[in-house]
């Protein structure tokens, strides 16, 4: 498995560290939202513990610790290990998406 880092080009996956699924979003309740504690707890339980565990293409966080030290979001097939795209994680850079194989 080789990962096309948008900053460093295609590198072997030993340079990268995996965090996991990029789709869970941290719940954001305003202090005065009036939500019940149960609903807030349910939302955090879902965010922290529950996973879609996709068989197929999945968006996921990788950290390029052996290279540019950027956080990346890859779209990768968990059944075939094929990468569809690797982009910088939002907020850390302005790289354009790099298509796998380019």
């Amino acid at each position: 498995m080789r990962i096309a880092c948008p900053f460093c080009g295609e590198r072997e996956n030993g340079e990268f560290t995996y965090l996991g699924d990029a789709s869970p979003k941290r719940p954001n309740f305003a202090a005065d939202s009036g939500e019940s504690p149960e609903r807030v707890e349910d939302a955090f339980y879902d965010y922290v513990y529950l996973r879609d565990n996709v068989a197929g293409f999945m968006r996921e966080y990788w950290y390029h610790g052996g290279g540019c030290r950027s956080w990346l979001i890859a779209e990768r097939n968990t059944v075939t290990h094929e990468f569809r795209s690797v982009i910088a994680a939002p907020g850390v850079g302005a790289a354009n998406p790099v298509q796998a194989g380019e």
Binding site: E12, G20, D21, Y49, N53, T78, H81
Partner: protein, 417 residues
């Protein structure tokens, strides 16, 4: 046919022509009291215990490939009960006691070999942690011995004791631990379950659930047609999330690939199981002579049953660090299996929120040693609708309640357990 020294001698004298198949190959019936999805060790053990201990014999085990083709045939065959946390300690010791009588119970040679397992320690802090775990085990009636380097050197003279980076200071030994022949465990449970009336149906993939208007699960759709069932139990390891998704359920589980390795066969060298405490590396020697070893997960979600080179390198480095002579042996085979990694590293054996559907999952990479106990407690749950006392902590809602059993202390990061 009952296997014994006499049946063996009789068959030998008749040119081994009299052996019959060890289990039937039935077509699926239209209804079963209990359907187990997954013909691995856990599913077959569940069916055996349902029939043998709980008197429920109208049971089918559905397997999409052939039995034992998943993790039951992909592990490193280690059995042990050296756990430290309440919940795990008693459960795995119950499993060890079932291993000790399995061959008599099943009338099948599973080659259970209590050749001992030693976890090496390499620092003062690690020694203290191992001493604590050993004491926890002994308080719970499990055997454990804390050995120093001089004692270990007598038994395992070939290890790298004086490495300047990771000197071996000692180890925690469980002499009742060891290995078992993983395929024979599958075959033994299959044969014993079949003899008690269980239908083992291979090449039968579950493609969906049948539900009544109230949402209760009343059967399964399969590649061999619809089969109705009183209860459905899942024991599908790495495919847990996929099967659960068919019922609309999202679980605290990720699927990850774990690789394992076998060297060419050599003469007897390693007496038991050895684990390296400064990295993640474990090794034993099979009765055929091959060194069987493994290490960490690859670390990324995967359903691919194959891994990548960085972990191969990491595992081999671990081997070289603890046992430099391993560098002279050639690697013969390598493969991957898909682990159902739970969010705290501990299994889930529970009723699901969906009526009629029962879950046995989250075995991480420790499922093989649990095979007999997993079968017993899951059969108990399916038969009685309440958890077995030794599995009472393995509930699905423990994450919601904050009652995790996190043996490694890594938090909700499955690839680190």
């Amino acid at each position: 046919m009952k296997y014994s020294i006499f049946s063996l001698a009789k068959a030998a004298l008749s040119g081994h022509k009299g052996w019959t198949r060890a289990w039937r190959d039935p077509a699926p019936k239209s209804h079963y009291d209990v359907i187990i999805i997954g013909g691995g060790g856990h599913g077959l053990a569940t069916a055996y215990f349902l029939a043998n201990e709980y008197g429920i014999r109208n049971v089918a085990v559905l397997e999409k490939g052939w039995i034992g083709s998943g993790n039951a045939g992909r592990n490193t065959t280690i059995i042990r009960s050296n756990y430290g946390l309440p919940g795990n300690t008693g459960f795995y010791e119950m499993s060890m006691k079932l291993w000790e009588r399995m061959e008599q119970d099943l009338n099948y040679n599973a080659m259970v070999s209590q050749r001992g397992i030693i976890n090496l320690y390499h620092s003062d802090a690690q020694r203290d942690a191992f001493a604590r775990r050993g004491n926890t085990m002994r308080i719970n009636g499990i055997d454990a011995e804390l050995l120093d380097a001089v004692q270990i050197r007598k038994e395992l003279p070939f290890l790298n004791y004086d490495s300047p980076r990771f000197p071996i200071m000692g180890g925690l030994m469980q002499r009742r631990g060891g290995t078992a022949r993983h395929d024979a465990v599958v075959w033994g449970y299959a044969r014993a379950a079949d003899q008690r009336g269980v239908d083992i149906i291979q090449n039968c993939e579950v493609t969906g659930f049948v539900r009544d208007p109230n949402g209760k699960i009343t059967g399964v759709e399969t590649s061999r047609g619809k089969i109705s069932a009183g209860k459905v139990g899942m024991a599908v390891a790495g495919n847990t999330s996929r099967v659960a998704a068919m019922a609309g359920m999202k679980l605290p589980i990720e699927s990850h690939v774990l690789q394992a390795f076998v060297s060419e066969a050599i003469k007897p060298l390693i007496p038991g199981v050895i684990t390296f405490g400064a990295g993640h590396f474990y090794i034993s020697q099979s009765d055929k002579g091959g060194l069987v070893f493994g290490g960490d997960l690859d670390g990324y979600n995967s359903y691919a049953q194959r891994g990548n080179m960085p972990v191969v390198e990491d595992v081999c480095e671990g081997g070289m660090a603890v046992m430099p002579m391993i560098g002279r042996v050639r690697m013969l085979r390598q493969w991957g299996g898909i682990m159902d990694m739970s969010m705290d590293g501990t299994p889930i054996i529970d009723k699901t929120p969906i009526d009629g559907l029962y879950l046995n999952a989250g075995w991480c990479y420790g499922g093989f040693k649990a095979t007999p106990a997993s079968g017993l407690v899951f059969a108990h749950l399916l038969a009685r609708d309440e958890p077995h006392p030794e599995a009472a902590r393995f509930r699905l809602d423990r994450f919601r309640r904050g009652a995790m059993i996190d043996e490694k202390g890594q938090g909700a990061q499955p690839n680190l357990h």
